[in-house]
């Protein structure tokens, strides 16, 4: 049992597989908690209680028939509302996708079902994953379960809040510039952004295709690993999916950090709040005390990450979001001619932040500006990859805070986009490099709200960074 008093996912699945508890009972427990608190949290755009009950009954029937429903048997999982679910509304928290029901499941959704998991609902998010607080959602903000006057982070704020509030033991999010790790940190849960290409993007509604990656939220490192093992592995439907077998990091989590070389990333301490810096240093001490060698290291290139990201991601987004034109699906504003119909549909369907990024992205890809902006950003991206490669020549993993501060108040940054963008300053470089990183809760700040520590590693080092997270998790209870 975890500190919240809820069973962990692995234990739930074991219980269901062994017949000790039914998937239906497990599900009702979570649905009760949703009933009790969803009104104040708004973690979900849609709770699919009936579909979930059907799925749970099917799992129970398989157990009764002597079959094994899989490693996530009967475990409720909340899905970010940018993951396509067949016949179930998928909106990206945008008015423009109102009423659209995908005719197909995302690969991760199919894999969850094959592992016996029970999809419990679609979680709120910043519109099209553009934001760091879940406040750009067309369905209204999600609130942080630890303090409902605060944001849960974003863009996967609904998924992070759902796990933190005990609405589901597991959730899936997507991370383009920190959208899993930053809300995980602000909500006090574990969030893993896997190596680009390890989890299929087929069925993930794109924000910035070269950066997007699906990953797990959980209350424990072991549960996040379990979920990652289920959703990962090659998918022929995604051309950027790596030709590798499914990951198997669950079995290596307890190997400790003896002899591991850990670098504290100085650039990520700069600009972070004092309490966050203090907790980061404490985490380093824990690792040193557990046998790792810890040193501070500078990778100056990562300071360029934010600027490069806000050229590359909007550039790709301006193209990815072109298809929402009212012709084939979603919202359509009727008009006399096609161009007016498309223009009105987009003007009324998209929110302000999405429009800002489409305009920015269109601008940076335009003839005459592309080389100065977009192509320059690509050169910076290569520099960041080189900077990390240099650091990983000396260190196995890098360590720093996930976010510069604990959860901020609702509305605090909505009028100042740049301040909002800065809350992703520590998470963005990882996406630009395509590397994995995990945020693990490590105590609380001066305001009593959770602080997350981020562990970064080179490509395909999920096993290693999750070993480090396991050690911090075991020693992070002290505040």
């Amino acid at each position: 049992m975890s500190p919240t008093g809820l069973g962990d996912a692995a234990a739930l699945a074991d219980g269901v597989r062994s017949g000790g508890v039914s998937a239906a009972e497990v599900l009702e427990g979570y649905l009760d908690r949703i009933d009790a608190r969803e009104g104040e949290i708004h973690a979900f755009n849609l709770v699919t209680a009936e579909e979930a009950r059907q799925a749970a009954r099917a799992v129970d029937a398989r157990v009764a028939a002597g079959e094994d429903p899989g490693p996530l048997a009967g475990v409720p999982v909340a899905l970010k509302d940018n993951l396509c679910t067949r016949g179930v509304a998928t909106t990206c928290s945008s008015r423009i996708l109102e009423g659209w029901q995908p005719p197909y499941d995302a690969t991760v959704v199919t894999r969850l079902a094959a592992a016996g998991a029970v999809a419990i609902g679609k979680t709120n998010m910043d519109e099209f994953a553009m934001g760091s607080s879940t406040e750009t959602s067309a369905t209204g903000p999600t609130r942080n379960p630890h303090d409902t006057s605060r944001v849960p982070g974003g863009s996967s704020g609904g998924s992070a809040a759902a796990v933190a509030a005990g609405f589901a033991p597991l959730a899936l999010g997507s991370d383009t510039g920190g959208s899993i790790r930053q809300p995980a940190a602000l909500c006090g849960v574990v969030g893993l952004k896997p190596t680009y290409g390890t989890v299929s993007r087929y069925g993930l509604i794109a924000f910035a295709s070269s950066l997007d990656q699906i990953g797990p939220f959980a209350r424990t490192v072991a549960d996040a690993a379990l979920l990652f093992d289920v959703i990962g592995g090659h998918d022929p439907a995604d051309s950027t999916s790596l030709e590798r077998p499914a990951p198997a990091i669950t079995s290596v989590l307890d190997r400790g950090v003896e002899g591991l070389r850990v670098g504290i990333l100085s650039e990520h301490l700069d600009g972070a709040a004092a309490d966050v810096v203090a907790r980061t240093r404490m985490a380093a001490d824990v690792l040193a005390g557990s046998g790792a060698t810890v040193e501070e290291v500078s990778v100056p290139e990562v300071k360029l990450g934010l600027s490069a990201y806000y050229l590359i991601a909007p550039g790709e987004a301006s193209s990815n979001l072109a298809r929402y034109d009212g012709v084939r699906y979603g919202r359509r504003v009727a008009a006399e001619d096609t161009v007016t119909m498309m223009t009105q549909t987009r003007s009324q369907g998209f929110g302000a932040e999405v429009k800002r990024r489409i305009m920015l992205g269109t601008y940076v890809l335009s003839a005459g500006y592309m080389d100065a902006y977009y192509n320059q950003a690509l050169r910076v991206r290569s520099m960041i990859i080189e900077g990390f490669a240099r650091a990983y020549g000396t260190f196995d993993v890098l360590l720093g805070p996930t976010a510069p501060t604990t959860a901020f108040a609702l509305g605090a940054k909505t009028e100042d986009p740049l301040a909002m963008y800065l809350s992703d300053v520590c998470t963005i470089p990882t996406n630009l490099a395509g590397h994995p990183a995990v945020s693990v809760p490590f105590g609380v700040g001066d305001d009593g709200l959770p602080i997350g520590i981020q562990i970064l590693g080179p490509a395909l080092s999920e096993g290693t960074i999750m070993q480090v997270a396991t050690v911090l998790e075991a020693n992070g209870g002290v505040s």
């Binding site: 996708l97 995908p102 087929y202 794109a206 051309s239 298809r323 034109d325 084939r328 269109t362």
Partner: protein, 483 residues
């Protein structure tokens, strides 16, 4: 072409590949079906869908590149962004600055060499049809989009600005079409849109001057309209310049009925396509082994096949101009295997070529399916004198209609049996007896008169024998009797 002016022509040809499935999904590559039946999340551009490159389409594109003497190179895909209802994602996936095939050439039948700048892969759009006025108060028009064509694989072949006459442009498209068909990558049907040609045309006063401002002409639906449009456009540009105006770079639409081009959009209004590397695909880097495999599986190209036919006449002093045209026809229709088979079996190449180009070509599709063995057997019957030319043509027509068969059996069923020498002699005697004046002129006549009279008597004998007589045998009999 007006004196003192030179035309410069470059052509862009879009060719649909004959793959079983589309470029980035598994949907059938069939867009004549009921609208919007061959579609899926990928080719409909649904949120969350991703493209996966069709390997067979890559092989066909490499085959085209090989046939056009291109370098086959590591390549990438870009997004070409523009809003249009039949563009499912509102961007087209296309190769941009790193095409699969580059720096090739095509040699026209007359030996003129046209450079091929690139032959790159891209996806086709859906097809919009605009419905007419409804008759309601606002007379509202509406448009329908069929996405069956969305994602069909295309190769765009871009020539250098190397052609100088409408005739060269026509020859280029004709030869390119034959090459595309020979690779098996395309059916090359310009009228049905599986091969679409855009022409870039400019004029200048001499070869030494820099290129003039060019216009791109679209909507060229046949080789004939290509030639007409190019010539019209060149005259239009010359008239502009000579009247002191200048040519504006623009895209122009060819109106086949009116026989003129008109402006679609000028450079100032041109789209900014905001090309950038397609992040949903990885670079396409064919290895040497794959390139070799594609190259070695290619059938011989039209030029080589024409040369092979001409070679058959080497011992007879080569082909005449008229026969050269027959050679071109036979290869364009892919009927050269019939000629080769007959010649290898000992049939005279001139007979094999003539029967193929003049008779078999009339139903080229059936001829393409004809078993060469029955064609060879038929020509052998004709050559031996067992069938007259007229009879042989009749039997061939029947063979083609029936899709094959035994020519001897067909001849027998039709009552085509060679006349005995006696009955031929009798028929000739009858003709001579009926026309003594002509016969005496034949016996004394000059060469020209003799030829004419041979035809006259042969015609009489043919008529009397209902075409059963062999014209050559009649002529021989006439000569024998004259002594």
């Amino acid at each position: 072409m007006k004196d003192g002016w030179v035309m410069v022509i470059g052509l862009e040809v879009h060719c649909e590949l004959k793959t079983a499935t589309k470029l980035f999904c598994g949907c059938p590559n069939l867009f004549g079906d009921e609208p919007n039946t061959n579609i899926c999340p990928v080719c409909l551009g649904l949120p969350g869908s991703l493209p996966v490159l069709n390997e067979r389409a890559v092989e066909m594109a490499m085959a085209i590149g090989t046939a056009l003497n291109c370098e086959i190179r590591p390549s990438t895909f870009h997004r070409k962004n523009y809003f249009y209802p039949d563009q499912a994602k509102d961007y087209q996936i296309s190769q941009y600055d790193e095409p699969l095939n580059a720096n090739g050439y095509l040699v026209l039948p007359d030996g003129f060499r046209v450079g091929i700048e690139r032959a790159h892969m891209e996806e086709d759009t859906g097809k919009t049809s605009h419905a007419g006025t409804s008759g309601r108060i606002h007379g509202a028009d509406y448009s329908l989009v069929d996405y069956n064509r969305s994602g069909v694989p295309l190769v765009e072949i871009v020539s250098g600005p190397d052609m100088r006459t409408g005739e060269q442009a026509r020859a280029y498209v004709t030869e390119l079409r034959a090459i595309l068909v020979a690779t098996g990558a395309s059916d090359g049907k310009m009228e049905e849109g599986s091969m679409r040609v855009d022409a870039n045309v400019s004029v200048r006063r001499s070869e030494d001057e820099p290129f003039g401002t060019r216009c791109e002409i679209k909507n060229l639906n046949s080789v004939r309209s290509l030639g007409r449009a190019i010539e019209y456009e060149a005259e239009r540009q010359i008239a502009l310049i000579e009247s002191g105006e200048s040519v504006v770079q623009q895209t122009r639409h060819w109106d086949e009925d009116a026989g003129r081009t008109s402006a679609l959009r000028s450079k100032e209004e041109a789209y900014d396509y905001r090309y950038f590397l397609e992040p949903d695909l990885v670079p396409l880097v064919p290895d040497a082994e794959w390139i070799d495999r594609v190259a070695s599986s290619l059938d011989p190209m039209p030029a080589a096949r024409r040369a092979a036919l001409v070679d058959l006449f080497a011992t007879d002093g080569g082909v005449s101009d008229a026969q050269q045209d027959l050679v071109t026809t036979v290869v364009d229709l892919s009927l050269d295997p019939l000629v080769i088979a007959a010649a290898s079996a000992g049939v005279a190449p001139s007979l094999a070529l003539a029967r193929t180009a003049n008779e078999a070509a009339k139903s080229a599709e059936a001829a393409g399916r004809l078993d060469p063995a029955s064609f060879v057997a038929l020509l052998a019957l004709e050559e031996s004198g067992a069938l007259t030319a007229t009879q042989a043509k009749t039997v061939l027509a029947e063979l083609l209609e029936a899709g094959g068969g035994d020519p001897a059996a067909i001849a027998k069923a039709r009552g085509f049996e060679a006349m005995s020498t006696d009955s031929l002699a009798a028929a000739v005697s009858e003709a001579i007896d009926a026309h003594p004046d002509e016969w005496s002129r034949f016996c004394q006549g000059d060469e020209k008169d003799e030829k004419k009279l041979t035809g006259f008597f042969t015609g009489l004998v043919m008529k009397a024998t209902k075409g059963q007589a062999d014209g050559k045998a009649v002529a021989a009999e006439l000569q024998r009797r004259r002594g």
